[in-house]
Symmetry: C2
Subunit: 391 residues, 2 copies
């Protein structure tokens, strides 16, 4: 790959918090970053070299980014594989991860079929195109089931638990199944949720960050802790499954692989969701690992050697989610938060608070010598958002 | 202090690598940064919100920064105390550290007199205004002596070793003593050079980062390692002296305090230089400590609680210095550098290579459990620049 003479430029479709943290990781490596985002002054814009304003799937916008870049990547599943592939063809700028990987992941049915074919353990699922299908699926899988839109869902959007057959029609309307249809998945009685940030670099090099436990409420990630509060065998199995998932995906870059742990089951680890990008479950790696997931993604897509993924210390993180009515974001209470020794704030610079919007996160590194302190560390972290308000 | 409603803005006079790394630390805290620098597209400019182009001592430039800012600071001793004080008065924007502290430090004679009066151990020094003074000083102190310009010197600039009386006139011309005069200091037969990054926050809160050993060649810092390769008593004495220095300086912020260690002498620690800003000897804190010196400076000048200064692991750093002729900077060999596990690159984005110019640095964190490995760690770090060229 030919990189610009005076240092490479990375193009990123999407300029939200993931684009911002990619920019923060790229700068010290001498990598310029150009993002595209429909919102002027998007979160990434203050820390990157340039923002092109335009829709994620707008050909001219994506082309403008590619023309300025040595490699093109994306930080949001709303990027369009057709546009990415066409722009790559027109400009000669490679896209990582491969647009076909994005296409596969964007359609949960296609993704699940691909994983199932590769022998990757998944919750049982049925394709459902209408309420009759969904009722039949629920009867077969056992109620309740998790209904997932085939396309357009991410970060819990497009996922609806369905309690019984009488909710079938309403649930299909809620996930916006439309012409694409949906999936009904067996509701896994998991003990906990885990996640692994996997990465594929040049020449087939792969790496996985330490297994992380994630805590969701109402389908939104609230907090993480690593090491996960489970046994070594389970962590090893989670890592193994994550590396198997990586093997099925084309192109370089970081992938967020979300897992269910159900101890005592035939498959103790099942794959829940995969994101072809850095993931909320890996934000803790900025402070907690030798290389962050963002630095790793930059290295991977540029074809540079992957960095060390060892955990420096047990680490928890907690999201700062918007509360109350929609209004301009005014960060307050930072002093109280920063008085907590070790707490590291990451504010995303979003202009507007919205209920449950991810406004920032806080990382809390623990004592490097106390690998059994994850429980207490997570508890401490979960109180940190109490310190902060959005005025 | 009143901060802007939608998050504070920090103004920084100077947009070199220190301004850049201040910007990198400020962003995640929700702090906007505006810098001034005479060079358009200065190193800080890609990572901060705005650059005002103008001289460090230009009143209108500094005023323009102050008008956009809640607090004004500086990252270069070439900032002008009179301008800073006048702008603070006109705009109501506080300046930290206090302009009087900058004034004191800018004049090594005034600084040394202030330290001597406070009982801080220093190398013996004489004021010299002409060659006769210098010859007399050398005869009194013993040849060779270190001649230091009273003003305008930093980062080793303005310091010249003088071997004997016959060099007196040439040396005075070389340091550009001019009307201001100079200082002749006893050349300390030090065992090693140490440095402490100290910090004063609001309400008199102070903090000191772990003692660091610095390696200079030809008056330019090449590498650092922390812990310093000396005994505990010496490190404690270094910390004590650094905190005494802090007590003599007004205003909030981070100070780089450079020390000589001479074991067996009456004073095992002597103060060499003080910089009223983040310092090259503290770059390792980005990876090596819970809070970096840059994050600490941001916290301190905004009046926020200081962060934890504990060392996460033994850590070395090495500067990437320009070599060869003046030419456009093209970073090459990054792949080889990044293949060294754990090595963290910080490229400053300077457009032009010049001999011995600081183009970037690399940090090498060591094994957290091996606090005696500083020697090997420093050796490994010192080879890292071999991986990188400027094309």
């Amino acid at each position: 790959m030919h990189l610009s003479d005076d240092g490479p430029t990375l193009g990123v479709v999407g300029g939200g918090q993931l684009g911002r943290m990619l920019g923060e990781a790229a700068g010290p490596l001498g990598v310029r970053v150009v993002v595209s985002d429909p919102t002027p002054n998007c979160p990434a814009s203050p820390v990157v070299d340039e923002q092109v304003v335009g829709a994620f799937d707008d050909h001219e916008t994506v082309r403008a980014v590619a023309e300025r870049s040595d490699v093109l990547t994306y930080e949001i599943e709303l990027a369009d594989p057709d546009t990415l592939a066409a722009v790559a063809e027109e400009t000669g700028t490679p896209v990582h991860p491969h647009p076909e990987t994005l296409r596969t992941i964007q359609d949960k049915l296609v993704q699940n079929d691909a994983f199932a074919e590769a022998g990757i353990p998944l919750p049982e699922y049925h394709r459902v195109d209408d309420a009759a299908d969904l009722r039949a699926a629920g009867d077969a899988l056992g109620w309740p089931v998790m209904l997932k839109a085939r396309t357009g869902g991410y970060d819990g959007r497009g996922n609806v638990p369905v309690e019984g057959p009488e909710e079938a029609a309403a649930a299909l309307a809620e996930v916006g199944a439309g012409d694409d249809g949906a999936l009904a998945e067996r509701m896994v009685p998991f003990d906990r949720e885990l996640a692994v940030i996997g990465c594929r670099g040049a020449d087939g090099q792969t790496a996985a960050f330490p297994v992380t436990e994630t805590v969701h409420e109402a389908e939104i990630l609230r907090a993480t802790v690593s090491p996960a509060r489970t046994d070594r065998a389970t962590r090893e199995r989670a890592r193994e499954v994550a590396l198997d998932v990586l093997d099925t995906l084309e192109g370089r870059g970081v992938f967020g692989i979300e897992l269910f742990e159900q101890s005592g089951a035939e498959d103790t680890i099942l794959v829940n969701e995969v994101a072809p990008r850095p993931h909320n479950s890996g934000h803790w790696t900025i402070e907690g690992c030798s290389t962050s997931q963002f630095g790793q993604h930059v290295r991977a897509v540029l074809g540079w050697p992957l960095g060390a993924t060892d955990r420096r210390c047990p680490t928890a993180s907690v999201n700062l989610l918007g509360k109350g009515e929609v209004r301009p974001a005014r960060l307050a209470g930072v002093e109280d938060l920063l008085a907590v020794q070790g707490a590291a704030l990451h504010w995303y610079g979003k202009r507007e608070v919205r209920p449950l919007r991810k406004m920032g996160h806080v990382t809390l590194p623990g004592d490097a010598t106390d690998i059994h302190g994850a429980d207490a560390l997570l508890s401490r972290a979960r109180h940190l958002p109490d310190q902060v308000t959005f005025a």
